[in-house]
Each structure stands twice: as C-alpha cells, then as structure tokens.
C-alpha cells in the first residue's frame, strides 16, 4: 500500500499539456473539418498514432491533457480528495448539503492530486475545495490557485499549534487543518517487547532477532533506489542535519540551506555506518512498496511509518506498539516531519461563498472533525477533539508522543529541490557512496536550483 504522503516528488510528474482555449478551438476546428469531409486515412496508419507497442501498450501518455479531471456536473459545491478520503468526506458533505439546502459533490482524484488541481484550476475547471497536505501551500500560492481562509483568532487557537502553523504561510492562513500525520516506530511486541530509546538499542534488538532467525532485516525504513527524504528525516536530523534555517517569523528560510553543512555531513556518515556497506540496517532494497509488508509478514521487528500504515498493520493481526523514532545515542533528537491534511479553498472557486462557508464555518466544528476521525482514524487537528479521542485510542497517543519533537513539513516551493537531490544522495550513501562528497554535491545542486 502506498501511503498518501504528499511529498513524493514523482507526484509532481505528469503535468500534461494544459487544455488551453486555443487548443480547444483547434480541436473544434478539426472536428468540423473531419466531419465535413471524407475521412483522411493518413492518421490511421502513421506509426505515431498506433503505438507498435513492442515493449508496452501502456496508457497513451500523450493524451493525458485534461482527461483525468472529472466534470463539475450540476453540484453547488465541488470538493476534490484522494481515493482514501473521498468516500469519508462524501458523508460529511451530505450533512453540510442538507443543512444548507445545497448539493455537494466529492470527487476522487486518484493520482497527482496537486498537479491535477493546479492544471485544472488554471484552466478554470477546478473544484471549489481541494483536500491536501499543507506542504502544497507554497506551490499553490505561487500559482495563485488557493485563497486565504479568513479564520478568526479564536478559531485558529482551537487547533494544535503545529497544525495552525502548518496552514499559515507568509502571515496568511491558507487552509483548515483536520488531521496531522507524523512518523512513529512500529514494533512487533512479540519480538521486541521494550521500546528502544536509542537507535543503537534498536539495531541491537533487531540484529538479535535476525540471529535468532526471527527476522530478515533489523528495521524497515523505506529508502528505495532514489531515496526517501521524509522517512530518513528523523535520522538525518538526529545526526545533526537540517534542511532550511528559520526566519525570524518562524517560516523556513530558503536561502539558509542545511544540506552540505558540517551537521549534514556528520548525519551522512551515520547513514553510511548503518548502510549497506556497514551494518546493513538502512537498505535500498526496502522501499515504499515493501516496507509495511515486511513488518506485517514478520520479516522485520521494527517499521518507521505513519498513520497510513495502521490499517494494513491491524488487518495483519501483528501485535504492535508505537513509540517515538529513536535518535542516535548522544546526538540530536530525531525530528521527523508533521504534515497536516487540510481543506483549501480555490482562488477561482465558482461557488466561493459556499466553499468558504464549508471550510471556515463547517470544517472547523469539533463535531465534524470528530466524525472525520471516526471514519478514518488520523490524529485530529483540533485540540479539543484530539484530547477526547486520545483518551481511548492508544494509536493516537502513540503518534502524538512520536510527533512531539516533530517539525512542520516545509511549505516553501524551494522544498521541491530538496526531495529529489537529497533523497538520491541519501540513497547513494546508504548504498555505500562516500558520505562527505555525496552530501556536499547534493548541497551544491540544491543551492543551484533554488538560486534561480
């Protein structure tokens, strides 16, 4: 299962051509032309139009312009969400619709939500509200696709501070948070009864399990061939690295890049020490596709993952417990990211009044966030609701404890340069590349791509 993590650079791929008005015209003109004449045969036989498919007849990638975007239909309020959340939201949206006498439609966008949203909104075909992670904010703002949500000071105060911070960008509030997500250490309590407080303890417990033939890997942290900055972040920060320095107002400062600085080199050396040429705890063979299943099938006693893994882990009937991801002994604390799921109001919403009403006066209600939690258990962003559900839900408590040290996932557009370059550098270091030169080169590359 793929977590619905928003920070995956490949998700930004696939921005097909925008269906501009001019293209539409050209198409109409051609249709008119084609209709009023005998069919020209030349297109049927040209190699371009019929892929010979020597090696794959995969989806025709050229025609993906606006095809992934659902039609707006006749609804009074259109909301976009990913496949996991859409059915949940549909139920709440219906309640909102009944209260206000309007028709609400929740549409599923299964892949590339962010780029699909930007493309559609720029072309005037977007939804009124989109549900996404707060690290989208920088890109959505620079493209002028979302509008600030005028939450009152009291409304904002009701949210967990980190959730409120995550939706605030350049001094404006751009979304209504409803759930927080951060990494925690899942451990198989049958194999590892006590929670490790340092990474070294974790490794020795894990390696003992391997020696006892109870496991094949000490730990599952998804890395893959191209790296995974999000899942590596606790270890990178514990080793001394940071991504961006902070401005005086608490926002991330894109001109203070931590990659390539001495702290990041120290972190890289630790990654190498526990990498494939070292004690083989971090491995490129563990990736987004197999990390959770390695844990559920008992091949590893430890897994670093987020709330999206809960469902799979529970279904596998593994006895598990959650604890904070441990840092290296005697080093910095391990600080992973907190990403926050939020409702964003489109800057080009056709139903701006209803969209704003839904986001600022409906989605902020504790009863609504409670209902959302009951349908899909992720730690709620409203403090009151969180306190209420944490009393009974140990998973929520576990993730909360694990997220105490966490930092807000940066919203600044410059973050896009980090995912790719730092991820690949970390993967290379885990695979045995020289940590110092590799991380320094990545730092240079990031600086160059942000500098423009």
């Amino acid at each position: 299962m793929r977590p619905s993590v928003p920070f995956d650079p490949p998700r930004r791929f696939g921005r097909g051509g925008r269906l501009s008005a001019v293209t539409a015209v050209a198409v109409v003109a051609v249709l008119a032309g084609a209709c009023s004449s005998s069919k020209p045969a030349k297109h049927a036989s040209s190699p371009g139009s019929t892929p010979p498919a020597s090696s794959s007849s995969a989806p025709a990638s050229g025609s993906s312009s606006a095809s992934g975007i659902p039609a707006r239909g006749s609804a009074d309020l259109v909301i976009w969400a990913d496949g996991q959340r859409a059915p949940v939201l549909q139920k709440l949206a219906e309640t909102f619709g009944q209260e206000n006498g309007v028709k609400v439609d929740v549409q599923t966008i299964s892949t590339d939500q962010q780029s699909a949203y930007v493309t559609a909104t720029t072309a005037g075909k977007g939804p009124d509200i989109v549900v996404g992670a707060t690290d989208w904010i920088g890109n959505l703002v620079q493209n002028g696709t979302i509008a600030p949500v005028p939450l009152s000071a009291e409304q904002l105060k009701a949210f967990q501070p980190i959730a409120a911070k995550a939706v605030t960008y350049n001094g404006s509030v751009y979304g209504v948070p409803y759930a927080t997500e951060n990494l925690a250490l899942f451990r198989n309590t049958a194999v590892a009864p006590t929670a490790p407080t340092t990474f070294e303890q974790l490794v020795s417990q894990g390696q003992a399990a391997i020696r006892a033939k109870k496991a094949q890997a000490a730990l599952a942290v998804q890395t893959g061939q191209t790296g995974d900055v999000y899942h590596m972040e606790p270890f990178y920060t514990s080793g001394g690295g940071y991504l961006f320095g902070a401005k005086s107002n608490g926002d991330y400062n894109p001109s203070d890049i931590g990659v390539g600085k001495p702290g990041s080199i120290a972190a890289a050396k630790l990654l190498a020490k526990y990498g494939e040429k070292g004690s083989n705890v971090f491995r490129r063979s563990i990736d987004a596709d197999n990390s959770i299943s390695l844990f559920t099938s008992g091949k590893t006693p430890f897994l670093v993952s987020g709330p999206w893994a809960l469902d799979t882990v529970k279904k596998a009937h593994v006895k598990y417990a959650l604890s904070p991801v441990p840092g290296f002994a005697g080093q910095q604390p391990a600080r992973g990211f907190v990403s926050v799921q939020a409702f964003f109001v489109s800057a080009k919403a056709k139903n701006a009044a209803l969209a704003q009403e839904f986001a600022s006066n409906y989605a902020t209600q504790p009863s609504v966030e409670k209902a959302l939690f009951e349908l899909e258990p992720r730690p709620p962003a409203l403090t009151a609701v969180y306190d209420e559900v944490a009393k009974t839900d140990t998973d929520v408590q576990g993730f909360y404890a694990a997220g105490k040290n966490a930092q807000v996932l940066p919203q600044i557009p410059a973050m896009a340069s980090i995912w790719d370059a730092l991820g690949k550098a970390e993967a290379a270091i885990v695979g045995g590349a020289n940590p110092t030169t590799t991380i320094t080169a990545a730092g240079k590359q990031i600086k160059k791509s942000i500098g423009s």
């Binding site: 650079p9 930004r12 791929f13 921005r15 008005a21 001019v22 539409a24 050209a26 198409v27 109409v28 003109a29 051609v30 249709l31 008119a32 032309g33 209709c35 009023s36 004449s37 005998s38 297109h43 190699p47 892929p51 010979p52 498919a53 090696s55 794959s56 007849s57 995969a58 206000n100 006498g101 309007v102 780029s115 930007v118 920088g138 620079q142 493209n143 002028g144 600030p148 005028p150 350049n170 404006s172 191209t226 063979s285 596709d289 800057a347 056709k350 139903n351 701006a352 009044a353 209803l354 704003q356 009403e357 600022s360 006066n361 557009p413 896009a416 695979g431 030169t437 590359q445 423009s452």
Partner: protein
C-alpha cells in the same frame, strides 16, 4: 466530336447525378454537424475571452462551408481536411512549443500580470486585530439573482447594522432574528438563502462595506462577516506594490515583484513573461544539462536498438519453431506465449521491479545470489533490457507468425528441391521475404522504444544515479531525462521543457534526414 460520344457523355452526367443525391445528403449532414459544433463552441469561447480561438474557429468553418457548397474548388475539397489537420496537429503544436520556449511559463509563472497582482492583493487581506465578527445575512429588494444587495450584520452585542458600499448604518426598525441572533427577516427586504447567496459569489467578492480606518466588512462564506484590511496595494502609475505592514516597495522584475530595498525579498506569485533566448542559453550553457546529454543519447539509441533486436530475435525464433506443421498443440503454445502481451505493461513493469529487489526479490532468491540489480549501472541496464524483452517478444512473435504463414510454402519447397539446406532456404528465401513485411514495424518499434518513458520510469526511474548528480541517471533515456529536468526538482518549467524538446527535435531531425538519405541510396541499389 461525334454524336455518339456526346450522348454517352450526357448519359454519364445523368448517371452521376443519380449517384450524387445520397452523397449530397451526407454532405449537408456533415456540414450541419460542423456548423453545429461551432455554434456549440462559440459561447464557451466567448466565456473564456478566447478571441483568437473564436476568430480561427469561425474562419475555419466559413472556409469549409464555402469549399463544400457548390461545384468549384475541386482540388480544395481534397486538400482542405488534410490541411486543417496539419495545422491543428502539426503546425499549431510546433508554433505553440516555440512560443512557450521563449517564456518562463511554469510553476510560479502561470498567471498573467494583472491576475498575479489581484492574487497578491487578495492574499494580503488580514483581519483587523480585535475587531468584531458579525453574523451575516444578505438581503435584496428585487430579483435575488441580479438586484443590488445589502448586508444585515448582527454584532456580538446583538445590535443590527445595515452594510452597503457607503458604510455601516444601525438598523432601528423592527427586525426578526434567529435564536443565535442572525437576521432572518426585515420588512421590505428579501433575505437570500444559502444557494442564492452562493449564486452571487462573484458580486460578493467585489462588495466591500467600508468600516473604520482602511477597514472594510467582508463576508466569510454565507453566514459570517469580518473586518479586514488590505496590506498590499498596487500603484499603476509607478508599477509598484507597497506593503503597509513592512513599508516595503516592490517593483516588477523578471515576472516577480521584488523588494526595492535590495534584500531580494519577493512575492511568491509571479506571472508569465517573455524571456527571449534565456531558456536556450540554459540548455546550451548549463553543463549539468548539456554534459550528460551525449551519454544519454547513446544509451537511448542502444536501448531502443537492443530492445528491438532482442525482442525480434526471440519472437522470430519462437515463431519459426511453432510454425512447424507437425507440432502438436500449436494453438495452445501460441496463446501461452501471448500472455505477457495481454497483461497491462505497467503492472508487469512494477512486478519486474520488485523481482529485481536485491534482498527480497524473486530473481536473487532463485539464483541464491545477492546481485544489486537496480543499484549498479550495467546490471540495471541489463535488467531493463530483460524486462523489455519479456514485454516485447509476444508482439514480434505475433507478427512473425503472421508473416511466416503468408509466405507460400512452395517457395521454400522449391528451394529445397533445388538442393538448398533448411538453413539456406531460410536465409535466402524466407528471411528476405519476412524482412520486407516486418521492416516498417521494426522501425516503428524502434521509434516507440526511443521514447519508452514507462519502461524507464517504472523500472529504475532513471537510476542508479551517480553520487554527485541527481538529474542524470545511468539508465535515463532522453525522454525521462528531459522530463526530470523540466518537471523534477523545481516543479513544472514548461518554458525550459519546450526548449529541450526543440533541441531533441533538431537532434532527431538531423538523424532522420541522414537515415532517409541512406535509405534512398539503398532503394536505388535495389532498383
């Protein structure tokens, strides 16, 4: 001219006329559909203010109607459809690509300048600290969809105000309120319901009720209002933005508003500007882009050639084996061999990717090996070719089987009678005949694999990457490399992407030209 000829001519004319009646109907229907489509498109285009498109559509339709009504313009009747398609599918994309290549169009530069200004201004509205929140009702005296409206605002202390574009005024008369205090009835006014308020969204966005110093009352959705203040204002005369919070002035530079104090601060929201040849300079000057291009080009050619060669060799070998008439269960074997072709390629590719996993993959498990298939440049290349072989051979097998069946057995028999061995007969009779039919397909297959983005993306994503370069991987082909530069690290950069595709187009055009020249020489030899 003899009489007989004249008569026959006339006879033919009347015969033609008889034939033409259904044709005429078809023609009328098709023209009607064309005109209908345009009639359908026109309001939409007007809506989007797409005047150029509107002109082009109407002109194209007018030309079509003119060409196909009446007996003139016979050559045009044949040329028009092809020409229109050429313009729409070849010329227009090319021109559009070139016009995009000279702009900075991409993330951060998607809007026009005026859109960017209004976005920045709207984003700078903040609530006046300590101001009240009102409960809002929108009311009108006329048609709810179009008549001017006013706000009825209930302050936290229960007082009701009427808000208009000239300001707030206390309402003293008799007002009906809901338990929470929201105004639900005022004599002479019609209170709009949620749906009606929503229909006025565009008007509400422009409706500001002045309140206090620089402040204005603005709606939050349909039931609430707050007092806001715009911090950033645009001055048309000087083309600058002024931020009242920081007292900074911003002037426009390279599609951004940049602070004049030299701090380099700027607003995130930019707009599309013409950058001239900057993108071309980037492609040719930037060593990170240009450097790996040659290496990637050679691997692209090698990848496409080797894929075609291996799939064709295996497909042909299997086709010949199964072509033997005495073989039992030929149909069954053939169906089984086609299975990889029946599976969606992207699923197969993902399965292959997991089979290549070093620690948990099937291949290493079967081999009892610890080969880091996708972590090493050469093994990754081999892995891609192997997976592509699996995906591609059924197609070649299918084609070769078909062609082999169409080659008359007599030819081979004749060769055997003349004393040729089976191998000789195959090499000198079957293979040349086969190649004539198959060659165009091999070329098409080569062209397809030259741009086989899926295989690379899903198997290795271009990797493994050298430890000092995250943009050019060891298995990248041109298309995956371009894609990463254009859409990878910095979000979408359509301008740069267009430039690179022009560069690749030129590269491929040159190669094709050389290729065609050689083919022509070959044809002359065959003649």
């Amino acid at each position: 001219m003899s009489t007989a000829e004249v008569t026959s001519e006339r006879g033919r004319a009347s015969w033609l006329k008889g034939r033409l009646v259904p044709g005429l109907i078809v023609k009328i229907v098709l023209l009607a559909i064309a005109v209908g489509l345009v009639t359908y498109a026109v309001p939409k285009l007007v809506d989007q203010h797409a005047w150029v498109g509107l002109g082009a559509t109407i002109a194209a339709t007018a030309v079509l109607v003119w060409i196909y009504t009446g007996r003139r313009n016979i050559p045009l009747k044949y040329l028009a459809p092809g020409t229109l398609l050429l313009i729409a599918f070849q010329l227009y994309p090319v021109l559009y690509t070139i016009s995009t290549a000279v702009t900075n169009y991409g993330d951060g530069h998607l809007l026009s300048k005026s859109q960017a200004i209004s976005t920045i201004e709207a984003a700078s509205v903040t609530e006046v600290p300590g101001s009240a929140r009102y409960q809002l009702s929108v009311a009108t005296k006329g048609n709810p969809d179009s008549a001017p409206f006013v706000y009825f605002l209930t302050a936290p202390d229960g007082k009701v105000y009427q808000g208009t574009t000239s300001g707030l005024a206390a309402v003293t008369g008799d007002v009906q309120k809901s338990p929470s205090g929201k105004v639900i009835g005022v004599p002479g006014w019609h209170i709009l319901n949620a749906l009606q308020v929503n229909h006025r969204s565009a008007d509400l966005a422009k409706f500001d009720v002045p309140a206090g110093a620089n402040g204005f009352v603005k709606n939050v959705g349909i039931s609430e209002a707050y007092v806001g203040r715009t911090a950033v204002t645009y001055d048309r005369a000087t083309d600058t933005l002024t931020d009242s919070r920081t007292r900074l002035t911003y002037h426009s530079k390279d599609g951004y508003f940049v602070a004049t104090d030299g701090s380099g601060r700027r607003f995130d929201t930019g707009w599309k500007v013409n950058v001239g040849l900057a993108n071309f300079r980037e492609v040719f000057d930037n060593a990170d882009i240009r450097g790996p291009l040659v290496r990637i080009f050679f691997w692209t050619v090698a990848f496409a050639l080797l894929t075609v060669a291996t799939t064709f060799a295996l497909g042909l070998a299997l086709a010949i084996t199964l072509d033997h008439p005495q073989l039992r269960g030929r149909r069954l074997y053939r169906s089984l061999l086609l299975l990889p072709y029946a599976l969606p390629a992207f699923i197969s590719l993902l399965v292959w990717q997991s089979m290549y996993n070093k620690d948990f993959g099937l291949i290493n498990h079967l081999l009892h090996a610890k080969i880091d298939w996708l972590g090493n440049a050469w093994t990754a290349r081999l892995a891609i070719l192997l997976a592509n072989l699996w995906l591609g051979f059924p197609y070649m097998f299918l084609i070769c089987t078909g062609v082999l069946q169409s080659i008359p057995a007599e030819l081979r028999d004749a060769a055997r009678v003349d004393g040729a061995s089976a191998l000789q007969a195959f090499r000198s009779v079957t293979l040349p005949l086969l190649m004539i039919s198959v060659m165009p397909l091999l070329i098409a297959s080569f062209a397809f694999n030259f741009n086989n983005y899926n295989a690379i993306k899903l198997l290795t994503n271009g990797g493994p990457f050298p430890s000092n370069n995250s943009t050019a991987g060891d298995t990248d082909i041109l298309i995956s490399y371009t894609f990463r530069i254009a859409f990878g690290a910095q979000g979408a950069q359509y301008g740069l992407a267009a430039t690179i595709s022009i560069a690749i187009f030129v590269l491929i055009a040159v190669i094709s030209y050389l290729g065609f020249r050689n083919t022509r020489r070959l044809e002359e030899i065959y003649r």
